[in-house]
C-alpha cells in the first residue's frame, strides 16, 4: 500500500505543481487550505488529494520563485500564509499548460488507437 502511494505521488508531482500554479493564477492569493479545497472542488472528488502534499508543491514552487508567500489574516481571522503567482510563474504556467495540452492530445490519440485495435 505504501509503495502504491509513493508511485502515485511521483506521478502527481509535476501535475500537482501545475494545478497549484493554475489555481493561484485563477483565484489570486490563497492559503494552503484554500488551494487544496479549490483543487478538490474542481476535480469534483475524482482526485483524492492528500491535502498535506500541497505543501511539498508549495516549497518547490517557492524555491523556483514561481510563487511568493506573505502572511495575512484568514477568513476566521487567523494568521495564515498566502501564496500568489509571480511574473515568472505566469510565464512558466503558459509554457507548462501548452506542454500539458500537447501531451494530453497525444495521449488521447494514442489511447484511442490502442482501443480501436
Amino acid at each position: 500500500m505504501t509503495t502504491g502511494e509513493t508511485d502515485r505521488s511521483e506521478i502527481l508531482q509535476g501535475t500537482l505543481d501545475l494545478m497549484v500554479l493554475k489555481t493561484l493564477e485563477a483565484m489570486g492569493p490563497l492559503h494552503g487550505y484554500g488551494i487544496a479545497r479549490r483543487i478538490e472542488q474542481i476535480s469534483e472528488e475524482v482526485l483524492r488529494v492528500n491535502q498535506g502534499t500541497i505543501y511539498a508543491s508549495l516549497v518547490r514552487l517557492t524555491q523556483r520563485r514561481w510563487i511568493s508567500a506573505s502572511w495575512g489574516a484568514s477568513e476566521n481571522n487567523r494568521r495564515a500564509r498566502f501564496y500568489s503567482i509571480t511574473k515568472t510563474g505566469r510565464k512558466q504556467l503558459t509554457a507548462e499548460a501548452e506542454n500539458w495540452q500537447r501531451i494530453a492530445a497525444v495521449m488521447g490519440r494514442l489511447l484511442q488507437l490502442e482501443g480501436g485495435k
Binding site: H31, G32, Y33, Q51, G52, T53, Y55, R60, Q63, R81
Partner: protein, 875 residues
C-alpha cells in the same frame, strides 16, 4: 535556466533560518487544521470528529515537517551537522577517552608531520635549478682540463661545469675576513641554469687565463657585506690582494650543491697554474643530460671517455671509473639513510597510535552496544549508524591531526634548532602546503580506516541477539575482544622493532663517544689562516711569518701554540703518492697514497699526541738541515709491517727534479682526521720549513691555554694582526666544539629514534593497560566466583599477568623477527656493532617485557582486590 542555482541559494538560506522556518511551517499547518476543522463542523461533525477528520486528510504532521525540511534545506549537510553535534556531545561526556584518543593521534600525526616536513624539504622538493632532473654528477673530482675534454667529447651532455671551494680574503670591510669563494669555470652557471638576480654571470669569453678580474657575489654576501646595495654592479672588491669588479648578484635561492659559497670567480683568471694542471683532480663537476638521454647511456658514454683519457694521460687518469648519478640523489646521499630510518620509525609510531585508536574505539563501541541496539530498534538504519560512528572517529582523528600539526610545528622548529650539518646547506625547511595536505590526509584516512571496523562492528548489532546476551553490563562479543588483543600483539611487535633500532643507535653513539680522537681536545683552539698569495708566494717569506708568529704567541703567558696544515676533524688533507727507498718502483698510477701534513713548533706536544718510537720533529729540523719526517702508526703498520721504520727514507711519488729523500725519525699515535667513525689513514708529517710546496699557504694555528676566553682570543688575534693586519681571522674553533659537532648528526638521529621508541612504548603501555583493564572489568563476576570458591589473591594476580605475558610473548617474538629483518637497513648508521647484535636485542626484549607487564600490573592488582560479595551481588 538557473533554476538549480535559485534552488541551491534558497536551500542554503533555509539552512541559516532553520528555526524560524520550522516555526512558520508549524503555524501554517496549524491554521490549515483550524480551517479544515471549522469546515468539517459546518458539515455537521462534532468538534471532536471534525478535528480528527482534519488530521486524517492533512496526513501525518511529523512526516510533513520532515518532508518540508528535506525539500527546503540540504539534508546531507544537516545530517552531517547533526552527527557532528551528536559526536561532540558524546565525546564531551567522556573527556578521559576523548583526551587519550586525541593525544594518541596527535602524537602519531605530529611526529609524522614533523619528519615529513624535513623529508619533503630534503629529499622530495626538486632542487632549485632549471630542469633539475637532467642534472648529474659523479663522486670523483676532475681537473679543469678533464672537464674541458669531457665537454668536448661527450655529446650526451648539453652543458657541464666545475667548482672548487677556496678561501679568499675580503679586505673591504671593517676587519679582514676569509670568505668562501667558488673557483668556477663559466660552464657552472650554464649547467645549473640559474640567471643572476642583478647583472650577469661569468661569460665564456671572460673565463680564460689573463681574463678580466670579475666576481659574481652570492645573495648572503651581498646582504651582509655590501649592504644589499642594488647598484652594486660595477663596484670593485679587494679580494686577497687583487681588485675584482662585481658583475652580478645571485638570487637568495641559489646555492651550489653541498657548498656554502659567498662569491664566484673564474678559476682560469684567479689560479691559472691550477687550471692548466691535469694531475690534481680538485673540481666538483656538474653535468646536464641531453633531453631523452638516459643515465645508463651517459654511464656507457663516460666509460668510453674514461678509457680514452687513461690511454692518453696514464699518470694522471689511470684510475678513472666514472659513474654518473642524478644530482638530487648525490645531494641527499649522506642524509638519506638516516631520514629513511627516521621516517620508517615515525610511520611505526603512527601505526601503533592507530592500533591504539582502533582499540579504544572498539572498546567504546562495545560499551555503547546497548545504545546502538536501542537506536537500531527505534529505526536507525545500519548505514546511518555506521555513518554516525565514523563521523565520530573522523572528528577525533581530525582534532588529533590539528593538535598534531601544532606539535609538528613545535617539533620542526626543534629539529631546525638542532639542524645537523648535512642539512646546513638547505636555505629553508618550512611547512609547505604539501605537508599540510599530508597531515590532513593522514588523519582523515586514519579516522576512516581505523574507525570502520569498530563502526561496522557496532552496527552489526542484532537487536534480538544482543537483547538475549545482554544482562546489566555491556559486554563485547568475542570478535571485539580478539580484535583488540591482536592490536596489542601488533603494537608490542612494532614498539619492539623501534626499541631495537633505538638501542642499536644508542650503543653506536656510546661506542663513538668512547673513541679516542688521538689528541686531547680540552682547552685547545684552532685558528685557520690563509696567507695571501700576493705577499707570501715564496717559502722563505712564509716560513719567516710562521716562525715569528709562533714565537710571538708562545711569549703570551699561559699559551702554548704550534701549527699544522690541516687540523684534525676539520676534514681537510693533502694526499701524496709516495715512494720508498730500496723498494722496486711501482707503475705510475698505482703508487700508495698517504695524507701529508706540514707542522711547525712543538705540534705533537701541544696536541698531546703520544710518541710511539723515535723522536718528535723539533725546531732544529729546519731549512738547510737533513730532510726528516714523522709517520703515524697506521703508516708504520701498513708500509713497514716487518721493519723498523726509523731511519727508512721516503719521498713524494711524483716529483720532478732530483729526489728529495726524507728520513723517518719518529712514529706518533693515530689521530682521527675526518670523523670519529672513520679509520685513520697512513699519514706523513714534515716540517713546514722543509716543504718545497709554496702553494700550501694555509695552516691551522693550534692554541692550548687553560682558559680560552674571548679576551685571550682577542690577545692572540692582536699579535697576529700586529704581524700582518690584512689576514682574516674569522675562522676560530674550539676543538671541544669541533668534536661535539662531529657527533652532532649522530646525536640528533639517536635522540630522535630514542624519542620515537619512547613514544611507541608509552602508546603501547596505554594500549595494553586499556585492554587488560577492560578484560578484568568484564570478568569481574568470574573472578568473584573463583575467589568465592577458594582461589587466592596470588592466583588471580597470576591469571591476569599470565594473560598479559601471553600477549607480550606473541608480540615480542613477532617483533624480534621483524627487527632482525629490518635493522640491516640501518647498517650505515651503526658503528662498532652489528645490526642484529644479540645483547642489544635481549635488552630491548627485556625492556618491552617489563613495560607490558607493568601495564598489566595495575589491572591485575585490581582484579586481585575484587570482593566476591560485591561482584556476585552485581549480577
Amino acid at each position: 535556466m538557473f533554476d538549480w542555482l535559485k534552488i541551491l541559494v534558497s536551500r542554503i538560506r533555509a539552512l541559516a533560518r532553520k528555526r524560524r522556518l520550522d516555526r512558520e511551517f508549524d503555524e501554517e499547518l496549524e491554521s490549515h487544521l483550524a480551517l479544515l476543522t471549522e469546515e468539517n463542523i459546518r458539515r455537521g461533525m462534532t468538534p471532536e470528529e471534525a478535528r480528527r477528520a482534519a488530521r486524517v486528510s492533512l496526513g501525518g504532521l511529523s512526516q510533513l515537517r520532515e518532508t518540508n525540511r528535506e525539500l527546503r534545506g540540504l539534508p546531507w549537510i544537516e545530517t552531517l551537522a547533526q552527527d557532528l553535534r551528536y559526536a561532540q556531545r558524546t565525546l564531551r561526556k567522556t573527556p578521559g577517552f576523548t583526551a587519550v584518543a586525541i593525544l594518541t593521534m596527535a602524537l602519531g600525526i605530529g611526529a609524522n608531520t614533523a619528519i615529513f616536513t624535513v623529508i619533503y624539504s630534503v629529499l622530495l622538493r626538486p632542487l632549485p635549478y632549471a630542469k633539475p632532473q637532467e642534472l648529474v654528477t659523479w663522486r670523483s673530482n676532475e681537473s679543469l682540463l678533464d672537464i674541458d675534454d669531457i665537454r668536448n667529447q661527450a655529446n650526451f651532455f648539453t652543458a657541464g661545469g666545475g667548482v672548487n671551494p677556496e678561501v679568499l680574503d675580503y679586505t673591504g670591510g671593517a676587519e679582514p675576513v676569509g670568505v668562501s669563494a667558488g673557483y668556477v669555470d663559466a660552464g657552472l652557471f650554464q649547467v645549473l641554469g640559474v640567471p643572476a638576480m642583478l647583472g650577469r654571470t661569468i661569460a665564456p669569453e671572460e673565463d680564460r687565463p689573463g681574463g678580466p678580474r670579475v666576481v659574481v657575489v652570492g645573495y648572503s654576501f651581498w646582504r651582509e657585506y655590501l649592504g644589499g646595495d642594488p647598484s652594486v654592479v660595477g663596484m670593485v672588491l679587494p679580494l686577497s690582494g687583487n681588485r675584482y669588479t662585481v658583475i652580478g648578484v645571485m638570487p637568495a635561492s641559489f646555492s651550489v650543491p653541498e657548498y656554502n659559497l659567498d662569491l664566484f670567480v673564474s678559476l682560469r683568471v684567479v689560479y691559472p697554474e691550477a687550471a692548466a694542471y691535469r694531475g690534481v683532480h680538485f673540481m666538483r663537476a656538474f653535468w646536464r643530460l641531453k633531453p631523452g638521454v638516459t643515465l645508463e647511456r651517459a654511464r656507457v658514454g663516460m666509460a668510453a671517455i674514461d678509457g680514452r683519457l687513461a690511454a692518453l694521460y696514464p699518470e694522471a687518469e689511470k684510475g678513472r671509473h666514472t659513474l654518473p648519478v642524478p644530482l638530487q640523489q648525490w645531494v641527499t646521499g649522506d642524509i638519506r639513510p638516516a631520514l629513511r630510518v627516521l621516517f620508517a620509525a615515525v610511520c611505526v609510531v603512527l601505526l601503533i597510535a592507530c592500533a591504539n585508536f582502533a582499540s579504544l574505539l572498539m572498546a567504546r563501541a562495545s560499551a555503547r552496544r546497548r545504545e546502538m541496539m536501542i537506536r537500531a530498534a527505534l529505526g536507525g538504519g545500519r548505514s546511518r549508524l555506521i555513518r554516525q560512528t565514523l563521523t565520530e572517529s573522523i572528528l577525533l582523528t581530525f582534532l588529533g591531526g590539528l593538535a598534531g600539526l601544532l606539535l609538528a610545528r613545535l617539533g620542526t622548529s626543534l629539529l631546525l634548532a638542532a639542524k645537523p650539518a648535512a642539512l646546513a646547506h638547505l636555505n629553508r625547511i618550512a611547512m609547505d602546503p604539501a605537508v599540510l595536505a599530508f597531515a590532513l590526509a593522514a588523519s582523515t584516512l586514519t579516522g576512516l580506516l581505523f574507525g570502520l571496523a569498530p563502526a561496522r562492528n557496532a552496527a552489526r548489532t542484532e537487536v534480538a541477539g544482543t537483547l538475549k546476551q545482554e544482562s546489566r553490563t555491556a559486554t563485547t562479543g568475542p570478535a571485539g575482544l580478539a580484535f583488540r588483543q591482536w592490536m596489542i600483539v601488533a603494537e608490542v611487535a612494532l614498539a619492539m622493532v623501534l626499541l631495537a633500532g633505538a638501542a642499536l643507535l644508542i650503543r653506536t653513539f656510546a661506542h663513538l663517544r668512547a673513541v679516542d680522537p688521538g689528541f686531547n681536545p680540552a682547552h685547545l683552539a684552532a685558528i685557520s689562516i690563509q696567507l695571501p698569495a700576493a705577499r707570501y708566494s715564496e717559502i722563505p717569506t712564509q716560513t719567516r711569518f710562521r716562525r715569528t708568529l709562533l714565537t710571538e704567541l708562545n711569549s703570551l703567558p699561559g699559551i702554548r701554540a704550534a701549527m699544522v696544515g690541516d687540523a684534525p676533524l676539520n676534514g681537510g688533507e693533502v694526499t701524496h703518492s709516495i715512494a720508498f727507498e730500496g723498494r722496486p718502483p711501482v707503475p705510475t698510477g698505482d703508487e700508495p697514497e698517504v695524507d701529508s701534513f706540514c707542522v711547525m713548533g712543538d705540534y705533537f706536544r701541544v696536541m698531546q699526541i703520544p710518541l710511539r718510537t723515535g723522536r718528535l720533529l723539533n725546531d732544529m729540523d729546519r731549512e738547510g738541515q737533513p730532510l726528516v719526517a714523522a709517520i703515524n702508526e697506521a703508516m708504520a703498520r701498513q708500509h713497514f709491517p716487518h721493519q723498523n721504520p726509523i731511519g727508512q727514507r721516503i719521498r713524494w711519488g711524483r716529483e720532478t727534479g732530483p729526489p728529495r729523500w726524507m728520513t723517518i725519525v719518529g712514529v706518533v699515535a693515530d689521530v682521527k682526521q675526518y670523523s670519529l667513525a672513520e679509520a685513520t689513514y697512513p699519514a706523513v708529517f714534515i716540517p713546514f720549513a722543509q716543504s718545497n710546496e709554496a702553494w700550501r699557504r694555509w695552516m691551522s694555528v693550534m692554541v692550548r691555554a687553560p682558559d680560552l676566553s674571548s679576551g685571550r682570543i682577542a690577545a692572540v688575534k692582536g699579535r697576529i694582526w700586529a704581524l700582518d693586519s690584512q689576514i682574516p681571522l674569522n675562522r676560530i674553533q674550539s676543538m671541544d666544539e669541533l668534536l661535539r659537532r662531529s657527533l652532532a648528526e649522530r646525536r640528533f638521529n639517536t635522540f630522535l629514534l630514542g624519542l620515537f621508541a619512547g613514544l611507541a612504548m608509552i602508546l603501547c603501555a596505554v594500549g595494553v593497560y586499556g585492554v587488560m583493564s577492560y578484560n578484568v572489568s568484564r570478568r569481574t563476576q568470574e573472578i568473584g566466583i573463583r575467589i568465592a570458591v577458594g582461589a587466592r589473591r596470588g592466583d588471580v594476580l597470576r591469571l591476569v599477568m599470565e594473560q598479559g605475558a601471553v600477549l607480550a610473548a606473541a608480540g615480542l617474538s613477532a617483533g624480534t623477527l621483524a627487527a632482525v629483518a629490518v635493522t640491516r637497513w640501518m647498517k650505515s648508521l651503526l658503528f662498532g656493532i652489528t645490526p642484529t647484535d644479540p645483547a642489544t636485542f635481549a635488552v630491548a626484549v627485556l625492556i618491552m617485557l617489563a613495560v607490558v607487564l607493568l601495564a598489566c600490573l595495575v589491572p591485575a592488582r585490581r582484579a586481585a582486590k575484587v570482593d566476591p560479595m560485591v561482584a556476585l551481588r552485581d549480577e
